[in-house]
Symmetry: C2
Amino acid sequence: MLSFTLTHRSGQARAGRITTSRGEIETPVFMPVGTLATVKAMIPPELEELGSSIILGNTYHLHLRPGEGLIRRLGGLHRFMNWPRPILTDSGGFQVFSLSHMMKLTEEGVAFNSFVDGSPRLLSPESAMAIQQALGSDIMMCLDELAPLPATRDRVAESVARTTRWAERCKQAHLQALDRAGASPHIAGSLPADAIPPESLLAQSLFAIVQGGSEPDLRAESAGQLIHLGFDGYALGGLAVGEPPEEMHATVQAAAGLLPDNQPRYLMGVGEPLDILTAVEAGMDMFDCVIPTRKARHGNLYTSRGMLSLRQGRYREDPRPIDPDCGCMVCQNYSRAYLRHLNFCREITGVRLLTHHNLYFYLNMMKQVRGAIREGKFAEFKKDFLAKYSQGQTEVSK
Amino acid sequence: MLSFTLTHRSGQARAGRITTSRGEIETPVFMPVGTLATVKAMIPPELEELGSSIILGNTYHLHLRPGEGLIRRLGGLHRFMNWPRPILTDSGGFQVFSLSHMMKLTEEGVAFNSFVDGSPRLLSPESAMAIQQALGSDIMMCLDELAPLPATRDRVAESVARTTRWAERCKQAHLQALDRAGASPHIAGSLPADAIPPESLLAQSLFAIVQGGSEPDLRAESAGQLIHLGFDGYALGGLAVGEPPEEMHATVQAAAGLLPDNQPRYLMGVGEPLDILTAVEAGMDMFDCVIPTRKARHGNLYTSRGMLSLRQGRYREDPRPIDPDCGCMVCQNYSRAYLRHLNFCREITGVRLLTHHNLYFYLNMMKQVRGAIREGKFAEFKKDFLAKYSQGQTEVSK
């Protein structure tokens, strides 16, 4: 199980260290998303070189392809994809609620059909735990319920209550697995060859997810109930699902302080640099988002002066790097003109290089964030960062 | 201009060294194909790590996208793609003849329409040279004519004659450029900023292409005429265009000996390991082919025991590397099951890893080829290599 140490504060912003059996994670941390047992276009040594200390895997996607049974028999997700550092897996709930057309919700769980072969599946608190146990992730997430949007206050309250009941069932399933794992060294000889190694199960932590939409009192109710049950960390879910950024920022601002000070706080699926810096300021520690990798594939690049879209004709013969102030391998070696050409021709090498750059930007931003908090200057850093970030691309001639 | 030193012989097979201003190339050599200023899915440091001493660029594709003018203004192809080692560019003729639907051949050249924007283009001996000079490749190829297949003997004879006339025009255009480059240091101050650097032009070599189909006497006629004109190296063209492998092997066997002993001999667009080993045995030195990179993208992998298709269901849970006898980064770190999953899900990371493996296989095979020739044991090496290669995948249970 993980341990968390808070080392510095700067206002509400916190810097700390999560210790797991697979290594340490300095917080605040950004987790690149490795949906299908790979961060798209990257390989593990490159992610390590970029300074990524933890990545995220998607339970829903891995359950459907290649299936958690196969991954377990191949030694678990870390060995399968050859990533030695920590992995956090989500519960699969968000994907079922947002991607499935034929989804049916009951107290038992969510029934849906596999988009791969049409077969019926049930994602329940117990199966979400079983899948994540088979994957062998370091941090598992409870199955939560996301009310279909737009939702009435009553419907949001209902999802808060169900999320708590499901979190309780997740915790039970987790504790039972820990019990079995704790007992199993004694019966190791009788374990089937493809069983989950007990040491892997014993290393797993479980986070709960606070729901409640944009209603402060429902967020407080959700957080209170989950904290009462007790988990290794807490996440804010159901955000960045279409609400205006200001509303999201206000919810995070209000909800962060509801979470225990001495445990990791994770803001799920968020977001743009402004969203992350605002959430760090509110006291959040962990972040994940597909946008840096997804935007890279479309030629949209993060720079210290804001977004740069390589599709624009003005970069056709531009010999400059994506961001003259960036220290990444791509900016050291390739011009906008070359990268635009690769993107225009849909060359895989282009996706690879642009993904590298965007992940460097995010991971480097988080490194600067941690440095600023340690120096007690986070507010100043945020102001300077955003002032430069909002400048836009300079129009200096080549 | 390049120089070539023959260092060892083993039967007709030769080992040697091509020296260029951008580094040495040990022969026999395989040149990965970098069609659009990138070897698909690879980046230059990875190619260097794989031991690639020279790559190929496609004049036709680069002329259409992004255009040789842009590449020249960005500092030439090497700088554009950040590849410091030698580059060979083809003439573009093969692509125009094989890819263009609205192609019109005259003595002047080949008129065709750009598939990108429909604009009319003319590929002539002079424009083929001008494009390759703008790209700044280390080895340029003469524009040759490939008779539409199937071709009568008369039609092949016609293409031989035109290929000679075009080669003469290519040589003239090359010599004129060298003259201008030789003179230009004196007038450097008056050169436009985007001119081709004289030192780059002076470093370029020019190879001619022997045509003649499968007719031994026409091949001899073509080779004789081109050698009489005099070039820095000679290639066999118009092979592996649909004829049976035995016919191709016989043509190479007969034609290799027609080429000067003290100059590089290049077999264009070939091929499978058997084709390459057979051509090395006949005395050929240089090879290029898209198949290792193209097959990788479709999950077809080269191994010491022949091809392995990852699409096959039997590899679904196979924990073994692609080739247990392979020393590449992919075989050291990833299972067939994982790579099959990535290929099945069309993950870019899969293309990247499988391309790496197939290029390692080819480049490592050539390294072994050179070692065997140096030891005077090429025939023995070839026999052993092909005996193992024809075994097929072993069916040993996991």
